[in-house]
């Protein structure tokens, strides 16, 4: 039985994503949780590259691993400073929570299963110029709206942090 490189790559990325996600949920130490989240983001970027979306994979790396993760680390340092023994993340486990997560996972899998008939195996690599043509012509209004949303988010962050001063 031969296993293709593509299959190995898929399952390797899946394993990394699952380990990272489980670390986010189960880690007691804050820094280990952040490390798990970083592994998860890396796996997601890997999936983007795996499906031929090279630009998206790079954007994921820059925005999440280079931006959001660093932001989370800054937030952890700001919020959890000064505690003796290091920050510890608490969880409250209940049967209902675990059951709800299992039911939602099962329901999603069953609901999305009919889509598999549209799947095809081959992947196409997209040239960045195709993406830029799409963003700057066909999807220009959406692209502009995203820019406005980012600006609004930046303004919101400034207002929220500024409103904290008393």
């Amino acid at each position: 039985m031969s296993v293709s490189v593509s299959t190995l790559l898929f399952w390797g990325l899946a394993l990394l994503a699952l380990v990272g996600a489980l670390a986010v949920v189960f880690a007691v130490d804050v820094m280990r949780m952040a490390l798990g989240l970083g592994a998860f983001f890396l796996a997601v970027a890997g999936f983007f590259a795996y499906y031929g979306f090279g630009f998206l994979a790079l954007a994921e790396l820059f925005v999440y691993v280079g931006g959001v993760l660093v932001l989370i680390l800054f937030a952890i340092m700001l919020v959890h400073r000064g505690r003796e023994g290091g920050p510890v993340l608490e969880s409250r486990w209940s049967v209902a929570s675990v059951l709800a997560a299992i039911v939602v996972t099962g329901a999603l899998t069953i609901a999305l299963m009919p889509i598999t008939e549209f799947f095809r195996q081959d992947t196409t690599f997209i040239v960045p110029s195709e993406l830029s043509t799409l963003l700057l012509r066909t999807m220009l209004p959406q692209f502009e709206a995203i820019g406005v949303l980012l600006l609004a988010a930046l303004a919101a962050v400034v207002v929220i942090m500024g409103g904290d001063r008393e």
């Binding site: 969880s91 949303l149 942090m161």
Partner: protein, 98 residues
């Protein structure tokens, strides 16, 4: 099939984190896991639909930007709440001041 199962499991793990974690930082990270699972599924489906790959990459790029903006605002709220209330435990944040 594998992709759908993987995305659903990632979403479920993230949901479990949102339900059981007591710290806002961990809840935010769990929400990121849920959104990441959904984005992977979106991209995987986009590749599968003939002729839609470029459009899906554009849409996925916008989804990534929206999630990043959401994370930035949520973390700003987290820091503001932590400074004011001196806690990030969800159980301690039970009052809403109008």
């Amino acid at each position: 099939m594998n992709l759908i199962a993987l995305a659903s499991v990632l979403f479920g793990i993230g949901l479990l984190g949102v339900l059981v974690r007591r710290d806002i930082v961990a809840v935010l990270a769990s929400i990121e896991v849920m959104l990441g699972g959904a984005t992977v599924l979106l991209v995987g489906l986009g590749v599968s639909v003939r002729g839609a790959s470029v459009s899906i990459e554009g849409i996925a790029l916008m989804v990534v930007v929206v999630i990043a903006a959401e994370a930035a605002v949520a973390l700003a709220l987290l820091v503001a709440v932590a400074r004011r209330m001196h806690t990030t435990r969800i159980d301690d944040l039970t009052e809403v001041k109008g």
